[in-house]
């Protein structure tokens, strides 16, 4: 119900998203839409899908950001970076989206921390979407209810699926394994170790929602001198020279 249970099992299921390897292919967003269109919160309505103004419910959306060092113009073009940024529910530990809900339709499960909506109770007041700083909730005007990422609760506990597939659809589909799923409450879990090793961060930590999902920042770039192709491995007509140049460029990455 709307109050956050004080006693939990300590399990915090969530995602770790690696911004270094995400290539912005949108496969996770599409897989999420596809799976959940028939799942727990289904259907994910699309209005005017082939018309002028398509308008639909998505649980996961991929943005692209450009970063620039604070030093500004002195940094030069080599220091700006393009970062693909997937955004879905972070299954926060202090989710105001849950506590503001007047009906109890929004709740955070004590057993694993997943934040869900009971659609039969939701009155569609939209207050929870106002309370979420991350834009993780979307209103479905056809069902008149709010919808959000379920952490694929209907996959991860689904004993009809082979164990290897009991993972969220977005995690299953990611071609670069930029999305990882696991128990962030267990410091020994694979996801927790990755977060520790890579300095995983919370989004908007000052607001106090304490997201379970963590983002791994892009790795430092190696110095340009390490990666620039050598000038003495030229192309030209000679096939051997061209091959050498290609090997150099490949190894310099």
């Amino acid at each position: 119900m709307t109050a956050i249970a004080p006693n939990t099992t300590g399990r915090k299921l969530g995602l770790v998203i690696d911004l270094d390897t995400c290539v912005g292919c949108h496969a996770c967003a599409v897989a999420c839409k596809e799976w959940n269109d028939g799942g727990h919160m289904a259907p994910l309505t699309d209005e005017d899908p082939y018309g002028r103004e398509p308008f639909g419910v998505w649980f996961n959306r991929v943005h692209a950001f450009e970063t620039q060092p604070e030093s500004g113009c002195g940094g030069g073009p080599a220091s700006t970076r393009t970062v693909h940024f997937p955004r879905s529910c972070l299954h926060c530990e202090q989710p105001d989206c849950v506590t503001v809900c007047p009906t109890g339709a929004s709740y955070k499960r004590a057993e694993d921390g997943i934040v869900l909506i009971d659609e039969d109770q939701c009155i569609g007041c939209k207050l929870c979407s106002w309370a979420c700083p991350y834009g993780a909730r979307e209103y479905d005007s056809h069902s008149g209810t709010m919808k959000k990422c379920t952490l694929c609760v209907d996959r991860i506990y689904n004993t009809n699926l082979p164990p290897a597939e009991r993972r969220p659809a977005c995690v299953m589909v990611c071609p670069t394994s930029a999305r990882l799923f696991g128990d962030l409450g267990d410091p020994g879990s694979d996801v927790s170790r990755r977060v520790a090793a890579r300095g995983g961060v919370d989004l908007l930590p000052d607001l106090g929602y304490r997201p379970v999902n963590k983002y791994l920042p892009p790795r430092e770039r190696r110095a340009a001198a390490d990666t620039a192709p050598l000038p003495d491995a030229p192309g030209g007509a000679d096939i051997g020279q061209r091959l050498l140049g290609w090997v150099d460029r490949l190894l310099s990455r």
Binding site: P54, F55, P102, G124, C125, W130, Y139, L207, P217, P218
Partner: protein, 315 residues
């Protein structure tokens, strides 16, 4: 934030209704307004009608109005739930107080007690309405100390404008109600000015770098949105039209909603009842339009942290 007509209508009319209800209950219980059946019926009837219309309007905002009763269940954590519970709790004492005033011609004893309880519940309900907004961390224009005084002062001013008109119509307690309306309007104008000054000068609470966790790489700027058409988040949380005209609309609220009505009420207090009614009615029209525009601005000028994911540099 997207200003929904139903929510604007709800907050303005219910605020008016609770303001009028609280004023009648306090002045009646103090014996400062004699229990005249006409004024009691018209005054309390208007107040309860405004509140009821407001509550009904708010349900039109819902995706499932038929489930609205469920909203009463989570009063332990949700300000929306608390508002609903208190709003309903205010009816019985209000009806008892009204019955005493209209039928028994009395506002003392148990009726006075009912009056005080009515006033308390009316004020608390307006506080809950304000807290629905003031508790939302992602919206700095709402989560600040001027929001609750703003809602209370607007309820007082709009309720007092009604009371001044009704007192004039029934020829009871005129001088007193004029003074209260003038003070209420002055107070509301000052509080709104302070609120606007605050939201114009407050430091941002978040940056795009913090929203993406990319602060380690410097500044972050949106390069590409995930979708080519606007989605729910952009329509609901990324509303932009208002800020362009904000200053003009604020002047409209200050002059049309507070200043002009104040002058009209002041002038009316020197006129005989028959003439003052027209001025007071005009003042009420001005106050109502002002309150609607003020509330529209309150929504439209609010910026949500979600806009950081759609191009805003700071919120």
């Amino acid at each position: 934030m997207h200003p929904a007509a139903s929510v604007i209508l709800f907050t303005v009319t219910s605020g008016m209704g609770y303001g009028l209800l609280a004023l009648l209950a306090v002045l009646g219980s103090l014996g400062m307004l004699p229990p005249d059946p006409g004024l009691g019926l018209a005054g309390l009837g208007t107040a309860l009608a405004l509140i009821t219309v407001g509550l009904l309007a708010s349900t039109f905002h819902l995706g499932h109005p038929e489930r609205a009763w469920r909203a009463l269940s989570q009063w332990r954590t949700s300000w929306l739930s608390r508002e609903g519970v208190l709003a309903i709790m205010a009816y019985p004492p209000a009806v008892l107080f009204g019955g005493g005033w209209v039928l028994a011609g009395r506002t003392d004893g148990v009726f006075a007690l009912a009056g005080w309880l009515t006033a308390l519940l009316a004020v608390l309900t307006v506080c809950c309405t304000a807290m629905i907004y003031a508790s939302l961390k992602p919206i700095p224009q709402w989560r600040n100390r001027w929001v609750m005084p703003g809602y209370l002062a607007m309820a007082l001013a709009t309720g007092a404008a009604w009371l001044a008109l009704l007192a004039s119509v029934f020829g009871i307690g005129r001088g007193l109600t004029d003074i209260i309306a003038i003070l209420g309007l002055g107070l509301a104008a000052l509080v709104k000015l302070a609120y606007w000054r605050h939201i114009d000068s407050a430091a941002p609470i978040a940056t795009a770098a913090a929203a993406t966790g990319l602060g380690g790489l410097g500044q972050a700027r949106l390069l590409e949105r995930p979708n080519t058409q606007e989605n729910y988040l952009q329509k609901e949380m990324g509303f932009r039209v208002a800020r362009k005209h904000a200053n003009r609309l604020r002047r409209l609220v200050l002059i049309g909603g507070f200043g002009l009505p104040l002058v009209l009420i002041l002038a009316a207090s020197f006129l005989p009842a028959a003439m003052s009614i027209w001025l007071l009615a005009l003042a009420l029209v001005g106050v109502t339009i002002g309150a609607l525009v003020e509330r529209w601005l309150f929504f439209a000028q609010a910026k949500h942290t979600v806009t950081l994911y759609y191009g805003a540099a700071t919120v």
